[in-house]
Assembly symmetry: C2
Homo-oligomer: 231 residues x 2
DNA sequence: TTTTATTAAAGAAAAATATCTTTAATAAAA
DNA sequence: TTTTATTAAAGATATTTTTCTTTAATAAAA
């Protein structure tokens, strides 16, 4: 992911100590949050790390470590204050400050995200969509206007949008990214299976349906092998 | 993920050596595949691991290791035969044998997946969808019929469907999963933020939009800190 | 042919991550 | 009050994953 030629990964980590949250932790935090919201609705005022661990089938110390990244501190014999912990995690994940984003590629997946209400539920608000198809341009999908890509730069620059969601066909993904980077987009959520070329000043998060299917099918295969193997 | 009480993870791995493909590998394989399809279309007959590594910014030996899991072997000084490698990876990921799946929850995200043509492009074919809303039941979304959940068990059992896609609201996710498990679904692709309780004989693949947004926003935050921090 | 450069493959080392262990704090019970 | 059980936090260990190193193979060039 890092495009380093001279620096090794070791050097990189020496340069910025403790600033980078481990990705596994970031993947678990939303899960904790959802669980906490559930028990909060049921009126549970406090929760301990071991209790969370039991419910979610995790290691208790892992939960303590993950939570410590957010700055949350618990009390011995009591645990964490449920609503405080929820607020701390939400703040930490920037889920409260709705970041504005634009979307490029209003095809199947793009339209889905545009009309997917829940998207606003996790810190991102799509304020505009872009496409090239005349059938799409000028329409509204889920309260968001679809404009021609030629207007991307002007709008993004003017409104200082930092996040771009990429849902174009893979074929033209890099082209779309170049336009985004040109308009000073700083973070790209990539739903295409393309490996994007971007400068170091831009972060890319890949959400590959392919990868998820691959893992699911593989685990299913392994499960079957295991069962037949046991006899 | 494994619900073991007496066995430790160590024991587990001792029991099935070399059967479990590392998840990072499974995440990278589809990326290699996409890249290979690209160069194949451009008429490139052979490709070496170091060449792939240069293009995708990976470590060359990591690519060799990942590919060796699929059984692919390359020739020194030539590399791999492009089309053979594509076929081997596709076979390995079961992308050629379209597995049949059902979908539960025909809301925003569910409808999106139903009308998302590409889904069939990666080894899964949704043959039926289920919901409870009278406005949904009886309709067709992307050539797939939406039926009432009460018909799930009969249909899944009769057609021996093994894969279930979960796109219900989080609130009723576990309920829906119980129905799926009851109907002998063996693999669940979970798009809800819920932690699902399933028996050991069922595999779950979580695709959490929340987690992806969390990672993206965090990396963006870190990027800004880094830039301001440098001055 | 013989040499040379390039490569896959296998094994070792390093880094990242998860799990286990110990310690200190503290609320609840005696 | 004093004791006890439970807990968070910190540190140590183990595991997993990635990266580095070495070796052997072989196609292309001399």
């Amino acid at each position: 992911m890092y495009q380093l030629l001279i620096m090794t990964k070791k050097d990189l980590h020496r340069k910025r100590p403790r600033t980078e949250i481990p990705e596994p932790t970031l993947r678990r935090l939303p899960r904790y949050l959802h669980f906490l919201q559930g028990i909060w609705e049921q009126g549970q005022m406090n929760i301990s790390a071991p209790a969370i661990a039991r419910e979610l089938n995790y290691d208790p110390t892992q939960i303590v470590k993950d939570l410590s990244y957010t700055g949350a501190v618990g009390k011995p014999r009591v645990g964490y204050v449920t609503y405080e912990l929820i607020r701390i995690i939400e703040d930490f994940l920037s889920l409260n400050t709705k970041s504005e984003a634009i979307l490029v590629g209003a095809g199947n997946l793009g339209s889905a995200l545009l009309s997917y209400d829940n998207l606003s539920g996790f810190g991102i608000k799509i304020i505009a969509a872009f496409d090239v198809a005349p059938t799409k341009v000028g329409t509204q999908i889920g309260n968001v206007s679809v404009m021609h890509v030629s207007r991307l730069n002007e709008l993004v620059t003017r409104l200082k949008v930092e996040i771009g969601i990429l849902t174009t066909p893979a074929r033209i993904a890099q082209e779309a990214v170049d336009i985004m980077v040109d308009a000073k987009i700083k973070a790209i959520w990539n739903f295409t299976p393309t490996f994007l070329q971007v400068p170091d000043s831009v972060v890319v998060q890949n959400t590959s349906m392919y990868a998820n299917v691959a893992i699911l099918l593989q685990r299913l295969k392994e499960l079957k092998n295991k069962q037949y193997g046991q006899i």
